[in-house]
Structures are given as C-alpha cells and as structure tokens.
C-alpha cells in the first residue's frame, strides 16, 4: 500500500463530499430569463430553429432555445401556466384543440396568439430503383384501410399486393412505412389521403352523407396486419430504410424528399406531383398547415418576442424565396401571408 497514503486520501474524500453540498446552491443562480423559449412539434423544429439562429445572429437578442417535444408535449408545457418558467412559444404541426385552449385558460394562460407559418406536404415515396408509380387517394385507401368495402359490406382488408388493389398496379406486396398514431403527420395523412380516398368510393360517400361518424371511423382506421409498418418519428431513418428495401413505400414530410432526390422518388397523387409549386398552389392533395402559438402575456416580459415574430413572418423568412423555403417550408399564398403578418404583429388573440 505504498502508493496511497490513507490519511491524505481520507481528507481528499472528506473535501470531495463537501462538493455536492455546494450544488444545492445552484438554484440561487437562476436569474430572470433573458431568452425566448420555444417548445413543440418536431416537424416545425427545423424551421423554428432556422429562424431562431438567424434571429440570434443578426440581432442583439440571445438566440432562442428551441425544444423538440412533439406538438402535444409542447402544448402541455405551454399551457402549464403563465410564469417565466413556462415556454413563450409552442410549435405545432396541427391546430390547437378547443380542450387544450380551455385547459390553458384554467391554468391562467389566456391570450394566445396563433401564427400560421406555411404548409408541409406529405409525400408517399419509394426508392429510385423502381419506376415512378402514380397513385390515387382511392388506391391508398384501399391499400391501407383496416376495413374496405367488398360487395356491399365492410370486410377486413384482404389486399396483400398492389395488384389486388388495382389491376393496373404492379404485383408487389403492399409495404408502407409510416408514422405511428401518435404523430401529427399520421393524423394529417389519415384526414387528407385516407378520407379523401374513401370519399371516392360510392358506398362510403353515401355513408359520409348519412352518418359522418361512422364514415370517419371507417375512413380513419389504418390496417394493423403488417402491411402498414409504424416506423418512428425519424423521417431520415424512413428514407434510408426505403433505400435498403426498394419495394417499400414511405410516408413523410416534403423537406426530406427535397434533400434525398437522388435516392427516392415520390409518387404523384391523383396525378399531381409533390413539387414545391404544386403544394404551394394547393394542387397537391396531401398537405397541412404548420403553426406556432404565443403567450401574449410574455410579450414585453421576455426580450425579443415581438422581434422574433416579426422575423418569422417576414417575407425573407416565409416568402417564396425566403430562407425557410430553402429548408423545405412551403409558403402560404401571398394574401394569407399578409393577413398572418398583420394579425401576428397586432398580437390578435386566437378564436376557435
């Protein structure tokens, strides 16, 4: 035991054990917040962070902190209360729910400002190895719905191959990698593609007129027998899995298609290709709006909030030639942009 001197070691240990006690002091240091805090959707995250970074670099304000928590988790934090320890902004890939607004109000978060920032197209894509396969929403519905109409009744989806869905399609097994039920992307896909497809089937179309609820139950359920594979929220991973598995289709956001044009190719839906122009013009059927929500009460308390909104709604950010377009955000029509900009700068509260 020559290399360790017990007594000295003991003193070192004694001193080391004082150290954690000093940690208790750390909260003393927590001063009032001087930077914007943003939480929410992972879909809005790339755009929100781009604006935040630019805002931080070109103004005297600190760069906002943006967290990727998912829309629901973000709104939960947002609605937790009006204090400085809650976020100022929540990003969402869907509109806020009435029940969420009510909950916010119960917690003292009253004046919420809604800002719509643009569109996100949802694409159905496949590896470039195969030729482009145009699809219709009806075909998507028949391939992915849990129950489909056969001979006047609804049965568990019997279609194993695309050919069974539509004789014009190739004789390949149906395999689609898509978002899980917890995802806003899935939600939008179901509402726009599946519901749209269902409406083209006469039997369901009549049902839609008679019993809206029953129709939606039929239209929104996605099959769970393995043809539709719930892959995680990581769209990059889906893209790479498509490369490894050329027969599978993937469902994900437009910006990932944009960055991987050398590897994957999107199917035109109802004859419309998911291009920047088509989505912006509203021609592509599966696209949704992206939002962020802001606490009016924090404006003036947290430095830079007003300026951040101004930057986010400015033409150089969300315009057709703006830097967010480079990142894959599809701009709103010009009139909408103007309305949004005006409402946002006036901090008009949300009315559902």
């Amino acid at each position: 035991m020559t290399s360790i001197r017990p007594i000295r070691t003991f003193r070192a240990i004694a001193l080391a054990s004082v150290l954690p006690l000093t940690l208790l002091l750390a909260p003393i240091d927590a001063a009032a917040r001087d930077q914007i805090r943003i939480v929410g959707s992972s879909t809005v995250f790339p755009f929100s962070t781009t604006v935040a970074e630019r805002f931080g670099r070109t103004t005297a304000f600190k760069t906002p902190i943006v967290e990727s928590t998912g829309s629901g988790g973000g709104l939960k934090l947002f609605c937790a209360g009006p204090g400085d320890d809650t976020p100022d902004i929540a990003n969402a890939s869907r509109r806020i729910k009435r029940s969420e607004v009510e909950l916010c109000a119960r917690n003292g978060v009253r004046d919420i400002v809604e800002v719509r920032i643009g569109f996100d197209g949802i694409v159905v894509a496949r590896s470039k190895v195969n030729p482009v396969l145009p699809l219709t929403r009806k075909q998507l519905f028949l391939a992915l719905a849990r129950r489909v109409p056969v001979a006047g009744g609804m049965v568990e989806n019997p279609n194993r191959t695309w050919k069974e869905v539509d004789p014009g399609l190739p004789d390949r097994e149906i395999e689609v990698l898509g978002p899980p039920p917890t995802s806003g992307t899935r939600d939008a896909f179901v509402e726009l593609a599946m519901e749209g497809g269902a409406k083209q089937i006469p039997m369901l179309a009549t049902l839609a007129k008679q019993d809206k609820k029953a129709f939606k139950t039929a239209a929104h359920a996605i099959r769970e027998d393995g043809a539709y594979i719930e892959a995680g929220e990581n769209d990059n991973l889906i893209v790479q899995k498509l490369e490894a598995n050329p027969n599978a289709f993937g469902i994900f956001g437009f910006s990932f298609l944009n960055q991987n044009v050398d590897r994957i190719e999107a199917s035109p839906i109802d004859g419309v290709e998911p291009t920047f122009e088509n989505i912006a013009a509203g021609r592509y059927p599966i696209s949704r709006s992206l939002y962020f929500y802001l606490k009016k009460s924090h404006v003036g308390r947290v430095p830079g909030l007003r300026e951040y909104i101004a930057e986010f709604t400015s033409e150089r950010a969300v315009g057709p030639d703006g830097y967010l377009a480079d990142k894959g955000l599809i701009p709103l029509p010009e009139a909408d942009r103007r309305t949004v900009r005006k409402a946002a700068s006036a901090l008009e509260p949300l009315h559902l």
Binding site: L21, L23, A31, G70, D84, T182, H220, A231, A244
Partner: protein, 411 residues
C-alpha cells in the same frame, strides 16, 4: 454567483477545520494528552457544523426562495443576494456554535462520527427516495389512465392500437389499450437478445478467464466493454440500416417473409450491446470460484473444458444467473434501438421476423408525440412505465432470491 457561493462555502469549511484544530490545541495548552480526541477531529467537528447547516439553508432557499425571484425581478431587486447572505450567515453561526463547544473534555470524535454515521445512513436512503419518487411521478397519471381505460382491458387486452382521435372533430379508430402485445413484443426482443448475448458473452468470459494469456485478456476485456458503452442511438442506426436489410435480404433468398423492421434485427443488435454485461459479470463470477476447485479438478485429470463445464460453471452459477437477469432487465429497458429498428406495430406474435414493439418504445413515442396531452394516449405511457417498474422489480426479487439460495447451497 453560484461559483462564488460554492467557493466561499468551501473556503469557510476549510477555515472552520483549522479554527477547530487550533482552538483545541490552544485550549489544551499544547499538550495533546489532555484532549479527549485528536486535534484534527475537533477540526472535522467544526467543519461539519459549518458546511452542513449552511447547505441545508441553501437548499431551502434554492427551492423556496427561488419562487420569490420573479417578484424580486419586478421590484428591481437581485434576489440572489439574500440567498448568499443566508448561506454565509448560517455557515458563520454554525462555525461559532461548534467552535464554542471545543473543550478538551468534549468528545469530538464520537460527536463527528455520530453525524457521519447519520449522513452515511441517509445516503443509503437515497435509493429508496428515488424509487418513491419514480412511483409517485408515475402513479397519479397512471391512475388517471385507469379511470379512462379499465385495468382489466389494459392487462388482458390482446390489441394495442392507441389510434384515438387527435382532434374532437375526428373519430378515433379502435383506440384499443390492451397491453399484452406490447409486453409480448418486449419479451420476444429480449429473448432474441439473450439468445445472442448469453452464449457469446459466456463463452467469451470462459475463453478470457481460462484460455487467454494475461496479455490478450488485458486487451480484449476492455475492448469488449466498449460494446456496452456505445450510445444506443448509434446501435439504433446500425440495427435499422445495416442489420435489418441484411436479414431481410437473407430471408428473401431462402424464401422467408421478413418485415423490414423485425424483432430479429433489433434483438440481435441489442444482444451485441449486452454481451459485455454478461461476459464481465460472469468473468468475475468464474474468477471468484476458489482456485482450489480448479486445481482439484485439473489434478484429477479433467481437461480445461471439463473443469469449466462440470466444476466452475456450477459453482459460479449464482453470479452468472445474476448477470443474466441484470442483462435481461437492461434489455427490457432499452429504448432507442427498438424505436429505430423494431418499428412500433404492436402485434401479438412469436415470429421474430415480424415487426413488434416494446414497452419503452411505446412510452417514448406516446410522450413525445403530437397528440393532445390530456388523452388516454399520453396517460398510457405512465401506466406502461408503472407496469414495467413492477415487472423489473419482480425480476430482481427473483434474481436476488435465486442468488441467495445458491449461495446457501455452496457456502
């Protein structure tokens, strides 16, 4: 500011140590013999009484006084100053009180040791506090979930499909919350992982312990341990992008229908991650078998492998079983690999070639999803977490009990 506070407290503690020691010496008139304890022990006594109350005060201020921060900010005050003052004055008071107690007849060592004993005892209680904290932070939300979904459905339902609606104007699909497929998925992946890691880990441990030269051992063992340290995110990519396609191609070449996200891929990679847990812990267990056992067997003319199989492994069994159970709970708790490679489809199947999901993967996706935060969907995560906690507790109790029984038998 924090640094200033920490440094001043540390400084005061060191100062208190010297004050206590000097004071004891001067009271004793330089004659150590008249002191009941060593001078340094008086030092420790005073130092303890300086640092301890001050830290408790700081904690109290940090958690309670912090709430005063916004108020202070609005009134143009720096709320940190009173905290610092509180800290230093408590420290001074403690120092003064303890220093006054320093007398040659004062049993400083006993006094200090009593405090240290209490501190050590409290440290051991942190584990219990943590468990209580975990249970509490899961329980309430889990109860809210069970108010929405009956526990009978949760524990016995064979269909997991949290497809409830995201918005009120939508209609949810099945919205089934039967957790059985989620747990069987976990079981399946764990089984695959174990069937990789147990043979490889155990054989590696045996080779390193019984055959490899010390040089090889000293290089290979730490290399193996790196496998356990690689972040699971990295493994997730490896599983999803390298292993899964490989299995799929292989499966297609022999005419099997393999899902592109298979339990097999996730399980194999998880198994690789777990190898070092098994190999390191079993290596220790085998090395702990007395040398005399090994020599006794060899001296009877047993070959090394016979010695290993017939003497060492049975003797090391409790340790190995413990290692395996620890690895099992690690596999059950693993999240990222599954999220990336096994998919999220909850299917009741025993086929490792199909996509399954696990409890942890569901917890993560439920918690960070886009759905509304007051739905059964989000709350389900807490119910799953609580069930998982109870489950691992059960495994551990069994493990401890098994190990104890084996020990009794062999000691």
């Amino acid at each position: 500011m924090f640094l200033l506070a920490a440094l001043s407290l540390a400084g005061m503690t060191v100062l208190a140590f010297h004050v206590g020691r000097r004071r004891a010496l001067s009271k004793a008139g330089g004659r150590w013999g008249s002191l009941r304890s060593l001078p340094t022990q008086y030092g420790y006594f005073v130092a303890l009484w300086t640092a301890l109350p001050a830290s408790i005060a700081a904690l109290a201020w940090g958690t309670l006084g912090q709430r005063a921060l916004p108020w202070a900010a609005e009134n143009g005050l720096d709320a940190r100053i009173p905290g610092l003052v509180l800290l230093l004055s408590t420290a001074c008071a403690g120092l003064a009180w303890a220093a006054a107690k320093v007398e040659p007849s004062f049993p400083a060592r006993e006094s200090t040791e009593r405090i240290i004993r209490i501190l050590l005892f409290l440290s051991s209680g942190v584990a219990i506090l943590t468990t209580i904290g975990i249970v509490l932070s899961l329980l309430f939300e889990a109860l809210r979930f069970f108010a929405l979904v009956s526990p009978v459905e949760f524990f016995t339902g064979l269909s997991w499909s949290p497809q409830t609606s995201l918005r009120s104007d939508q209609v949810g699909s099945s919205g089934a919350f039967g957790a059985v497929p989620v747990f069987t998925g976990t079981l399946l992946i764990t089984l695959v992982a174990m069937s990789v890691s147990i043979p490889i880990g155990l054989l590696a441990a045996i080779y390193l312990g019984e055959y490899a030269s010390p040089r090889v051992r000293s290089v290979v063992k730490p290399l193996l341990e790196i496998l356990a340290g690689v972040p699971t995110v990295v493994y997730g990519f490896f599983a999803a992008l390298s292993v899964a396609p490989m299995i799929r191609r292989f499966g297609e070449s022999v005419g099997l229908d393999v899902s592109s996200e298979s339990a097999l891929a996730a399980g194999l990679v998880m198994g690789v991650m777990i190898i070092p847990f098994i190999s390191s812990l079993s290596d220790d267990a085998i090395a702990a078998v007395p040398r005399a056992m090994r020599d006794g067997s060899l001296a009877l003319g047993a070959t090394r492998s016979e010695t290993v199989k017939k003497v060492l492994l049975p003797a090391a069994l409790p340790g190995i079983v413990g290692a395996i159970l620890m690895a099992v709970s690690r596999a059950i708790g693993e999240t990222m690999i599954v999220v990336m490679a096994a998919g999220l489809a909850a299917r009741l199947t025993a086929n490792p070639l199909s996509a399954v999901t696990t409890v942890t993967a569901q917890i993560v996706t439920l918690l960070i999803g886009d759905q509304e935060f007051d739905s059964a969907k989000t709350l389900a995560a807490f119910a799953l977490g609580l069930t998982l906690l109870v489950l691992t507790l059960g495994i551990n109790l069994i493990a401890l009990e098994t190990v104890r029984r084996f020990r009794e038998q062999y000691e």
